[in-house]
Symmetry: C2
Subunit: 250 residues, 2 copies
DNA sequence: TGCTTCGATTGATCTGAATCAAAGCGATTT
DNA sequence: AAATCGCTTTGATTCAGATCAATCGAAGCA
């Protein structure tokens, strides 16, 4: 697949929403189709909030699955530690998304969840969720939908990576992030990267040097621009999406 | 990760069960924890059977999601057709597994499901399943568990592939298949590959020549042996799993 | 202010997989 | 039996990405 083609596929990312810094439970739930009653009930059991500072663990691999977490603000990575000590990033999770799904079938967390910046989550005890779902069955149904959607979203991206080159992988990754930012109400093509080149590389199956080179190349080709060079893990990435033959803006 | 390490991880594949050629609904459901009543109810709505011959479509990408399919016998691949016409394999599915999950969040199938050999499936209309779940809520709950388990299983494998070399990818793939065969009651380390080198390569992000070379190398290293050479897509693969320093048998 | 640290960038070299090309085997057809 | 077809294997060459290595910029600290 040519990079051009790749970019064209995603040209539908074109509607801007206002910016928001923290995400209410309502904002998390409405797009999924929960009704007012369901949101109210959910609010009751999900009242407990936790703050995690940068590099802090939300949960660890091997620990018992007890809660799902709705990210109110911040950014997380999930990763597994391999036998040889290397850390493999399995996903990135942003404000407004659900965390903890890795354990849904095993009852045991299969990966670590680590904050990439100061973050705040809303804890949803799974036992309570199941309990309440006995009286409101649709609630669990909605949750399963959210869950499978998030799992499938990632899965789909990963599958396609197999046949791609470094530059295409990075572009796919950025477009995926972009789409998720837009969905959460952030501005269209400008966003901050909270993770390092190494973490991106781990996720995409590339080395950090290769990621860096791919970034440079995408800049040379005017596909992205990066402000604040060298501001570590805080680059502002501005995607210039090209449509057809013309170049459509930042 | 060294290949040796890789193989060690999976040394727990060590219990043999008897062989079975078709899988009853009961066999499919029991391991998941469904009780007799639930199985009976499920049997009522899942009575319709379909036979698909080699290369036949079970469903197509873009079609509306209506049913889940329990594979009673046979072997399927799921794949997506990219813009440029190339076919990307997204998964393999064997007797006793559930098919159709790709559409669970979108209501539209995202990939084609194609039989790799003459196969038989049991159709489970999703609408009926939802209807019945209203009176037996645990049923849908069980199903969601099966679904997330199957999705996560694949997802986990794919994520790890990123950092692996060709030989390791193939070994991981074979071990994954092996484990699934064992779970379904087939003998331990001997099984038939129903897919071509090209399909394996597509799934693993490798070219068919590379897959072929990796097979040869694994043979040279006595890690596998292949009988009936050149019997197309019908190789008998015998895995010799090595544990610790000693070599533990076929 | 200078020193250290962490991450990013860039260059040079090496290597594993893609690519191009040619046989090979088994099954099926004629 | 000969010819064809589909899939696999193997060899030679090329190239993308890994690896090794040096430098740099920004932030934090003594």
């Amino acid at each position: 697949m040519s990079l051009q083609t790749l970019l064209n596929i995603h040209h539908d990312i074109s509607h801007i929403k206002s910016s928001c810094s923290t995400c209410s439970l309502r904002e998390l739930c409405l797009p999924v189709g929960l009704n007012e009653e369901e949101i109210r009930v959910l609010g009751d059991i999900a009242s407990h909030k936790r703050r995690i500072s940068r590099s802090g663990y939300l949960y660890r691999a091997g620990s018992k699955f007890q809660s799902l977490f709705a990210i109110r603000s911040g950014f997380f990575k999930t990763c597994i530690l391999e036998q040889d000590g290397r850390q493999q990033v399995t996903g990135f999770h942003m404000t407004g998304e659900l965390l903890g799904l890795d354990a849904i079938s095993t009852e045991i967390h299969t990966c670590d969840a680590i904050a990439l910046e100061h973050s705040e989550v809303c804890e949803i005890p799974f036992a309570k969720l199941e309990e309440i779902s006995r009286t409101i069955p649709s609630l669990m149904h909605h949750f399963h939908k959210i869950m499978s959607r998030e799992i499938v979203r990632d899965h789909g991206v990963m599958l396609l990576l197999g046949s791609m080159k470094a530059e295409e992988r990075l572009a796919t990754f950025l477009l995926n992030l972009s789409r998720r930012f837009v969905m959460r109400g952030y501005s269209e093509y400008n966003f901050n990267l909270r993770m390092t080149r190494e973490e991106i590389g781990s996720y995409l199956g590339l080395k950090l040097e290769t990621v860096s080179r791919a970034f440079s190349k995408l800049q040379d080709e005017n596909i992205i621009t990066i402000d604040n060079k060298h501001v570590q893990i805080n680059d502002i990435v501005r995607l210039k999406i090209k449509m057809g033959n013309s170049t459509c803006i930042t």
